[in-house]
């Protein structure tokens, strides 16, 4: 009896631990503003008033979503463009100092964001980059690139090396072998890395919060944190929860679809 019930109990504990707070976010988003402080397990009645308030003209939330999409998208594309070549080099070529290179890449990802943000903030004020997209994208490369290089290197190392050599024997140049053999085979790994980098860039806060002070240029996470209530004093939690649902649900859907890949990407390098 114990052997049958215990695993299910454990699973139930995990589900409650992981999902209950998220569930509360969704439930709070769909309550009427007048029922906001209800503690019932589901909204009664359901209401989309909070969601409508999120997209009220004063919040410019649509614009913020577009900004987030642009910043996270540009960060992802740039990171992959640069990272793919580096990762290929690290996975395939044999050269002295390779472990040093790997060490530098991993060490960069450990730097605290603040020691990057403060000097860059001063620099961007001087060169008039405050309230621009590049002021958010460029610093984001600092955390995205090491992550991408790392993930891609692990993936690339698992690719069948022999195929590339066979292609070169058949007359492909190294570049052609890379383009025609490695890229199609590596696509799943590149795609996984893209998802993880995109989620990290979409969730980024301190850079976007520091480099931008105009409402039109804010990313979604910053915009939500800055939502103000009608009176200015009470925090509009209902609206904020609804907005949080809007920025989180696309990520949760991605997680549901690509869970296997994401887990593989997250554990890459952590386990031998």
């Amino acid at each position: 009896m114990r052997r049958v019930v215990l695993p299910y109990l454990g699973v139930a504990v995990i589900l409650v631990f992981c999902l209950a707070p998220f569930y509360w976010m969704v439930v709070s988003a769909f309550r009427r503003p007048s029922d906001q402080f209800d503690s019932g397990p589901w909204p009664s009645p359901w209401s989309t008033e909070n969601l409508e308030a999120v997209f009220a003209p004063g919040n410019e939330f649509g614009r913020a979503l577009v900004n987030s999409l642009l910043v996270a998208g540009a960060t992802t594309v740039l990171t992959l463009l640069i990272g793919v070549f580096t990762a290929y080099t690290l996975a395939r070529l044999d050269f002295r100092g390779k472990n040093v290179v790997l060490g530098v890449v991993i060490a960069t990802s450990m730097f605290p964001g603040i020691s990057q943000v403060v000097p860059l903030l001063k620099l961007f004020i001087e060169i008039d980059w405050i309230n621009t997209y590049q002021a958010m994208v460029v610093p984001s490369l600092g955390f995205a690139l090491p992550l991408a290089v790392w993930n891609l290197t692990v993936f690339f190392r698992q690719l069948p090396f022999e195929l590339e050599q066979a292609a070169m024997i058949d007359g492909c140049s190294r570049g052609q072998a890379f383009r025609k053999i490695i890229i199609p085979l590596a696509a799943p790994g590149v795609f996984t890395t893209a998802i993880i980098v995109f989620i990290m860039a979409w969730n980024e806060f301190i850079i976007a919060f520091s480099m931008v002070n105009e409402k039109e240029m804010q990313t979604a996470t910053v915009a939500i944190a800055k939502f103000t209530g009608v009176s200015g004093f009470d925090q509009p939690f209902g609206t904020q929860m609804a907005a949080a649902v809007v920025v989180t649900v696309p990520l949760v859907v991605m997680v549901l679809i690509f869970q296997r890949r994401i887990v593989a990407g997250l554990t890459a390098g952590g386990v031998k």
Binding site: V11, F37, A91, I206, T221, Q240, G270
Partner: protein, 335 residues
Amino acid sequence: MATILDKPSGGAARPARAPRRGGQARKTSRRLALLLLSPTFLVLALVVGYPVLSGIRQSLFAQAEGLDENGFVIEGERFVGLDNYTALFSGERGEAFWNAFSNTTFFTVTAVTLETAIGVGLALIMHQALRGRALIRASVLVPWAVPTAMSGLLWRWIFQPDGVANTLLGQQILWTADGIASKFAIIIAEVWKTSPFIGLLVLAGLQIIPKEVYEAARVDGASAWQQFRLITLPLIRPALVVAVLFRLLDTLRMFDLPFVLVGANKDSVETLSMLAWMEAGNLRYGVATAYATVLFLYIAVIAYTFVKVLGADVLGDVRSAKPKKKQQKKKEAKA
């Protein structure tokens, strides 16, 4: 086979013989490697290396304040040497610094300990689960996918004085005010968001332990606890040490969670990152970068200790491993 292989490669499969050709290939490889690595290093140098170095330089300067003898405002920066650093450790600024330092350390030690314990627990349950693995995996990824700032808001909402946490507990705790309870609010939120990450890493470590090891232990009469302590723990240790290192470094630089959950300028939750950020907001870049540099050094020391003392193998299987080469050679010899 071997002669064909070594011609175009330059990769790990190149045998040690044929030194002249090998040397040539190595040279081309090296040049190609440099070429392909340079974009990443250029970008990292510009967006990480330059800021960190310029931050260290900045921390030796102070914004000039006051008026000169003609009554004009003095602007610009003044070289002050290590004054910004010595000021950190005493007086009013020292109080703020030590408070932030101890908050940062307290959050890191407590949160990472709890995360590790819960993460290992999650992994053990996930490993035992026979059905619903996809469901568990997806739900474990949910806290990871929620943006930290949003989880800060969510927990601020849960921890409101008349929020659901107090309703469930039947208490009237002021979680989000400036007090001891707010420290625990931060830790709970942090643990919720990140222990699944440790759980996933540990699970991956568990999955490569062969079943026979446990069977042998059971035959020898080992209890479940003995199996866990003497087999599971040592075998997942490499994965666990790396996971814990990453969590430590990430928690030491914590910013968004306390900032959104409790707020800026609250002594009970102010971290070093927040303190540096506040000073930068007040345009005291010298002081701000001094804080940031101290945090940077703190993190570097911990990372170094972990790698050296506990042998955290962060490079893992990505490093150019020697045993693999040997295996390759053996294969080639057979061929």
